[in-house]
Amino acid sequence: MLEELTEKLERTLKKITGQGKLTEANISDTLREIRRVLLDADVNYKVAKQFIDDVKEKALGKEVLLSVTPGQLVTKIIYDELVKLLGSNNAELTLNPSGLTVIMLIGLQGCGKTTFSAKLAKYLKNKKRNVLLVAGDVYRPAAVNQLKILGSQIDVPVFSIEGSKEPVTIASEAISFAKEKGLNTVIIDTAGRLHIDEEMMNEAVAIKDKVNPTETLFVVDSMTGQDAVNSAKAFHDKVDFDGIVVTKLDGDSRGGCVLSIRSVVDRPVKFTSLGEKLDSIEIFYPDRLASRILGKGDVVSLVEKAQEHVDEKEAEELEKKLLANKFDFEDFLKQIKMIKKMGSLSSLLSMIPGVGSAVKNADIDDRQLVRVEAIIHSMTKEERANPKILNGSRRKRIARGSGTSIQDVNRLIKQFEEMQKMIKMLNTKSGKTNMLNIAKKANFNNMKFN
């Protein structure tokens, strides 16, 4: 979709080509287009307006170099400005090296505090911290139980006081408990509250005053609309916080509310949270969100995700095989396993530029991968290594064995042959193949199995 934006901008900027300079008159259509993109991404009206004014100021009088088109130039200015506004560097969580670290989570109802508190606990536990979760939401039915269950899933103790309706007391007793047990990190989950509910806001302040947190984090749903500025500002003015957590980024919202919040509250985004699995937590990269707001894919995330889960040795071996044109079904199976480790296919695909919008319409079923796996599992070792021997009766047997149809098997083999051809082409083209490129191409191929 970056292409889409650039293309739109190119269209509006066409008339300036050859004029040499960006002027008020020749970029007004373009700026309108940008405004539209921002508003559709849920950036607040006023924030979008201010942003456009800033971009205009930066762009006016700029020489259009011969090497870039005006569209590229404006895209670059917008992107840079967005990254700057979202926070130019990623902010780390403050942890006391010695003594107690207390982290308190606040936010509206349903933004994902409880789930995030468990994710954060797991993240910090992996960093060798001794974590205590505190069930401070005494209002929502069963919130305490929910946290207890999550705590047991990640093997982190959960502090609660049965029947207590006093979150301030719970928080302060939890601190004493942590000290007594020698735990060095306390994460306090609090009830969701509305920013105009004075009583509840005062309660949050009271908890904060009592426990004096090292970090107070404001949790916000990435799907939030225009009102994000009001709630964030109220939480900031009344309770104050040190950082922001953006949740539910595994959906397809563009997350423009983060830009809105950053413009009314000078606090960094510290984490993003993307899914119900307790390890789907990431530190925040402004450049990635900038791309997302503009509808541009998140290539960097994809590459990093691949790096995280791709076994170096296996990758090297695969590369050798690819170079020798010896890529077989066995390798294909390994690839599928790797892709599965990286997350759901649709979330991976949505990170590839240009695919974002296509994926929305294409029906991508992660179970397709399971089916492909089943088909390959039903092949003999010999068949996997040498797919050429797969004749009609073998195919029939494989279909029966994997619970699929002959058509499914045929399709897979055809796709596989195409993939082999592509690899051959790549090899002759560049002489050297980049593992990640292949991984990416493989993704596209899997998409066709539907």
Partner: protein, 312 residues
């Protein structure tokens, strides 16, 4: 003796000024051959609309329509421009209502099955508690099916609501929501319940597997009664922005949404994305959630809602 004890000179002056301005404007327009329209007001109103999450394209279209109507309008005061826009918003909401809201709840075919769906944290469970309360209060036998087999302690949360309202709840120790639905419908049929409320797990509309699961739940319900579920209500967080439209589009692929519940409207958010949903999808808003108590679910009143958008 004062003859005009309620005479308000300022008001008269104001209206006279307005009249004079109008006359002047008319003369100006006649002289210049152009219609003068209060662009500042239109821009302010556009801000009001967009800030309510109505969305850029719908807001622009409404303003554009108002601009056209104003050409033939004698009264071009700020109040009247507002009035034009309010009417336009109302007609959008009413259009959606006419399409699908013709039949009221009818319990000729017992039980009346209501399936509640939505993304995580939108307020499904709370809405169910409130719905159960409303149905019970109007004299119906209500039973709740706890088909959120995914979220930690979802059963407990719903149990507490059921106890609060005083209605039975069906829980089955399983990972399969369809099994819970099957069990609940069997009981409802056997014991002659009027209303079955089915709570489902929150699912992001981008998670295909979970959406397919929803389809399966629907099919299990259909096995009991081909006309059921009588209602499928999608719960939308009033705080959500343009993504809500995407949610409706995706959920619609797997279920037949008959109405919306917009939650959390007791804050400062307006939930204006419903205008786009009603325009594009012709799905009516049925209820709004305005708090955490059992009483805090209200019927959706288009005119009140439109007024609220302009009250800042």
């Amino acid at each position: 003796m004062k003859l005009f004890n309620n005479f308000n000179f300022d008001r008269l002056k104001n209206s006279l000024t307005k009249t004079r301005d109008n006359i002047l404007t008319k003369i100006n327009e006649t002289l210049s051959g152009k219609v003068k329209i209060d662009e500042v007001t239109l821009e302010q109103l556009e801000e009001t609309l967009i800030s309510s999450d109505i969305g850029a394209s719908v807001s622009e279209a409404i303003i554009e329509k108002a601009r056209k109507l104003l050409v033939n309008e004698k009264d071009r005061s700020v109040d009247n421009i507002k009035e034009l826009i309010k009417n336009e918003l109302l007609s959008i909401l009413r259009m959606g209502l006419q399409q699908k809201d013709k039949e009221e709840f009818s319990f000729s075919n017992k039980p009346y099955v209501i399936l509640i769906i939505g993304i995580n944290g939108s307020g499904k469970t709370t809405s169910i508690g409130k719905l159960a309360h409303n149905f019970k209060k109007s004299g119906n036998n209500v039973i709740i099916a706890s088909a959120d087999t995914f979220r930690a302690a979802a059963n407990d949360q719903l149990q507490i609501w059921a106890d609060r309202v005083g209605v039975p709840i069906v829980k089955v120790n399983t990972k399969d929501p369809s099994a819970v639905v099957y069990e609940a419908l069997s009981i409802a049929k056997k014991d002659n319940y009027d209303v079955v409320l089915i709570d489902t797990a929150g699912r992001l509309h981008t998670q295909k597997n979970l959406m397919v699961e929803l389809n399966k739940i629907k099919n299990v319900i259909k096995k009991f009664d081909d006309g059921a579920p009588n209602e499928t209500l999608l719960v939308l967080d009033g705080n959500s922005g343009q993504n809500a439209l995407q949610q409706v589009k995706e959920f619609e692929k797997y279920t037949d949404i008959t109405g919306l519940i917009i939650t959390k409207l007791d804050g400062t958010t307006k939930g204006g994305v419903v205008f786009q949903i009603v325009t594009d999808k012709k799905i009516p808003v049925k209820y709004i959630g305005v708090g955490e108590n059992v009483e805090d679910l209200q019927d959706f009143e288009p005119s009140q809602y439109v007024e609220a958008i302009f009250n800042t």
